[in-house]
């Protein structure tokens, strides 16, 4: 079984330690959440996984292979992809074109329609629209999630997939997880919402750059609910 791992990952920026001794394992076909309060270092973990940031020390392993030095494109070619917390705007690029990466991703109209409609964007209304200021943050987020559905990666990292979305966010995440599970995709959700974390199989609770607890998501969420807001990165944390 394939797996993606972080081994003893530290990350510092401008002399400030952001992550310390992070160990995580994401097994193929499972769904995970990385849960924690704002500023815990969750998005930094996501960016390290995707290769946008290099750890100060430690390793990123994919199926046992050290991919720490590989860049974003190389990791994407190995089957990893990510939906960013704040999806970029692209002037002059239509959603249809974006989803097919300018024609490089070979998907047909029906697949695009299905992906867009699954994330709540009617094809007829959205496929021809530009990914620019005319789309709200929530709409761009939905496009980003549709993009991952079409890419069918082995590992999908979703950074705060519910932020900027309306009241239907929970249902959407549930539906996405079902789709990804069926496709055998490993999902890693970055979130500070316990309800979202509760939808995944396993969870990691991160606080102040350190791993506090890991386990079945229900247990981790319970722990998070009880303890979050207090300083947790103390010696002897689980």
């Amino acid at each position: 079984m394939g797996m993606l791992c972080l081994r003893n990952v530290d990350y510092s920026r401008e002399g400030r330690r952001i992550l310390q001794g992070i160990n995580m394992t994401f097994r193929e076909g499972m769904t995970y959440s990385i849960l924690g309060p704002n500023g815990a270092g969750k998005s930094t973990i996501a960016r390290i996984l995707m290769g946008e940031l290099k750890p100060t020390s430690g390793q990123v392993l994919l199926d046992g292979r050290d991919i720490t030095e590989l860049g974003v494109t190389e990791r994407a070619k190995l089957g990893m992809s990510m939906a960013w917390q704040e999806p970029a705007r692209y002037e002059g690029i239509r959603i249809r074109e974006y989803l097919t990466l300018g024609g490089k991703l070979k998907v047909d109209g029906d697949e695009i329609k299905e992906a867009l409609e699954l994330v709540g964007l009617p094809y007829e209304l959205y496929a021809g629209r530009f990914i620019d200021k005319s789309l709200s943050g929530g709409e761009r987020k939905r496009v980003e999630l549709a993009s991952l559905l079409l890419l069918k990666p082995r590992y999908a990292i979703l950074d705060e997939p519910d932020s900027g979305l309306d009241i239907t966010a929970g249902e959407l995440i549930e539906e996405l997880l079902n789709r990804f599970r069926k496709a055998g995709t490993t999902v890693i959700i970055i979130t500070h919402h316990e309800e979202i974390a509760g939808k995944t199989d396993f969870a990691y609770f991160v606080c102040a750059g350190r791993l506090v607890k890991k386990g079945f998501s229900r247990e981790v969420v319970d722990y998070y609910r009880k303890t979050c807001g207090r300083c947790l990165f103390v010696e002897g944390s689980p």
Binding site: E52, T73, M80, S81, W84, Y90, I93, L101, G102, L151
Partner: protein, 316 residues
Amino acid sequence: MTIKVDRVKEYEALLDIYEREGLDTSLFGDRVAAIIISGDRIIGLNNVPGVEIKGEEIENGVRADVRIADGVELPFPIHLCTGYLKSEGYQRVEFNITVGKNSKARFTSHCIFPYAKDFTHEAISRISVGENSSVLYDDEHIHGEGVRMISRTEVEVGKGGRYTGKFSLTKQRARELKLEMTAKLGDGAVAEMTSKVKAVKDDSVEIREVLQLEGAHSRGDLKSTVIAFDNSKVNVVNEAYGLGDYAKGHVECHEVVKGEADVQTIPLLRVRNDKAELTHEASIGRINEAQLVQLMAKGLTEEEAAELIIKGLLGE
């Protein structure tokens, strides 16, 4: 379309270029008001009800008056085709466009200089948009590598009128481009002017866009996008003047640099009315990192991602 008998060959040559470049050849049809210029000669002219085009051949070029009557709404664009089929020389064209009240018109202007090696094109357009009228002016260029282009457009928009100007030079080189667009707005008038230019090799590009928000509640947007490659030099000046009560203007300039290009942008905002409001936004330099990384996370290389982003920016 009236085509002068001795100029049929030039007319056909232009038509061939339209076909080759994938431009809309239906613009040469009888239902479209048009003036077709080749060098210093008018080779085709067509008027339709509500539109009167009068052309005059002047030294090295053509002057044309275009008048649109009040209350006219045209189903087809007015076609202004300026061609130059020789490789060297100088051409000057002047368009005086007057749009009456409560009218709606679209202009498609094509500058076609496919064989230009050492050619200077000077274009002066004066556009008057009447009260509550709406004008869209789309300016596209198809030409060879050796063009020096000087283009000046002065627009006045009357009360409640709207002007949208689009200038695009993205498919071919702009060896030397001086582009100046000025819009003066009356009460409640609106203007949107966008320019998209790709500069390569040692091209020199100077763009100046000016928005005079004179009328109360007038609104304007200026937007320039330049992609500068190689050793090109680009200078963009966007000026907006807030003069009328509750006038509102926005100036935006994005310049992307690849290679050794030298680019600068200068926004100038000036308000002389405490009820007016002006804003500006500029980015200059390499392609936005977040845009690149997010596309790369989908499997594109940095070069492929940059290409897609630039293609979008230039509207190709």
